[in-house]
C-alpha cells in the first residue's frame, strides 16, 4: 500500500524536509532496476535525477530498520520497497536526510517505532552530521 511520510529535522535556521512516498510489495519474479539492501529486503527507486549517493542513503536508511521490517511485515518471503516520489526544497535538504526519511516511512508503513538517527548541526561548515549506527 502506498503511503507518504514527512521527514522533518531542524536544528538551525534551515533544516531537512523530505516527503517520501513509497510502497512495499512481495518481491516480483523479474528483478529489474532494484537492489538488494539486506537479506529478504530489496529497494527499487522509480525516480529520475537522483545521484549515486542519494541512492546509497536510501538503501542505508532501509538497512538501518531491516530487522524491524522483518519482524513487523505481514508479507511472507522477500519484500521490495519501491520509492515512487520524493519532494523537497533544495534550501532545506541534505542527502543524508533520505536515510531518516525512508526509515521513518518504514516505521509508518509497517507499524513500528523508529529510533531517531543522532544528528548534530555543524555551524562552521553549515552541514548536518548524521551518526549512522552500524553503517
Amino acid at each position: 500500500m502506498l503511503c507518504t511520510y514527512h521527514y522533518r529535522l531542524i536544528k538551525a535556521s534551515w533544516g531537512i524536509a523530505v516527503d517520501i512516498a513509497a510502497e512495499a510489495e512481495p518481491l516480483p519474479p523479474v528483478l529489474e532496476n532494484i537492489k538488494k539492501v539486506d537479506k529478504d529486503l530489496w529497494l527499487g527507486i522509480d525516480i529520475d535525477g537522483l545521484s549515486h549517493s542519494e541512492h546509497e542513503y536510501l538503501a542505508l536508511g532501509l538497512r538501518l530498520v531491516a530487522e524491524e521490517i522483518r519482524k513487523a511485515k505481514q508479507i511472507s518471503g522477500p519484500i521490495l520497497v519501491r520509492v515512487l516520489d520524493l519532494r523537497f526544497n533544495p534550501s532545506d535538504y541534505q542527502p543524508e536526510g533520505l536515510s531518516g526519511a525512508i526509515a521513518g516511512w518504514a516505521g509508518q508503513a509497517f507499524g513500528f517505532a523508529v529510533s531517531d538517527i543522532p544528528v548534530t548541526f555543524d555551524k562552521q561548515n553549515n552541514r548536518y552530521i548524521f551518526q549512522f549506527k552500524g553503517a
Binding site: R8, A12, S13, W14, A17, N89, P90, D92
Partner: protein, 166 residues
C-alpha cells in the same frame, strides 16, 4: 513602484533616441542602480509573468511559501544557479533566474528579521514556517535566513510594489 511613476518612466524611455526624455530615463536608471541592491529569484515561465504583473495568485505550497506568500530570492547569481540546478535535476523544467532590484531606502524601511541572529532560530522556524508545522503569522516584511544553499531573502507580498523586476 506605483503605476503613475511606471507610466512616467515608460514615457521617458520611449522618447526619441538621444533626446532629452531618454537622457532623463538613463540618468534615473543609473541613479537607481547605484542606490539599490539586486536579488535573484528562480521562477518558471508562468511565475515570471505573474511577477511582472501584480504577483498574484501567490503560491501556497509549503515548499514555495513556507514563510508566507511573497518572493523568495538569493543575494547572488551563483546561489540562484545552484538552487535552479538542484530543482532541474529533480525534473522541474522551464526555470529561469530573474533579477530584481530593491532600493536601499526601501530595504531600510521594511520590518525585517535575520533568523540566524536569533538565539534559537529553530524555535522561530518551528513556530512560523509551514515546512516545520508553524503558521507564517510573523508580521515581518523582509526575512533573511541561512539555508543549505546560501542566504535566502524573503520579501512578503505586502511589499511587492517595492521590488523592481526588469
Amino acid at each position: 513602484m506605483d503605476s503613475s511613476f511606471r507610466s512616467l518612466l515608460y514615457w521617458l524611455r520611449s522618447g526619441p533616441k538621444g533626446g532629452f526624455r531618454r537622457k532623463i530615463a538613463a540618468w534615473h536608471l543609473k541613479r537607481f542602480r547605484f542606490n539599490s541592491t539586486v536579488f535573484y529569484t528562480v521562477q518558471n515561465t508562468e511565475d515570471v509573468l505573474r511577477l511582472r504583473g501584480h504577483g498574484t495568485p501567490w503560491p501556497t505550497d509549503p515548499t514555495r511559501a513556507h514563510l508566507g506568500g511573497g518572493v523568495y530570492a538569493w543575494g547572488n547569481r551563483a546561489d540562484a544557479q545552484r538552487y535552479m540546478n538542484n530543482l532541474s535535476r529533480m525534473g522541474v523544467t522551464g526555470l529561469k533566474i530573474i533579477p530584481f532590484r530593491v532600493s536601499h531606502q526601501s530595504l531600510r524601511s521594511f520590518r525585517r528579521l535575520d533568523v540566524d541572529a536569533l538565539a534559537n532560530p529553530e524555535a522561530w522556524m518551528a513556530r512560523y514556517s509551514l515546512l516545520w508545522g508553524g503558521t507564517p503569522e510573523h508580521s515581518f516584511e523582509y526575512i533573511q535566513r541561512g539555508t543549505a544553499i546560501g542566504v535566502e531573502h524573503f520579501f512578503d507580498q505586502s511589499i511587492f510594489r517595492h521590488l523592481r523586476f526588469k
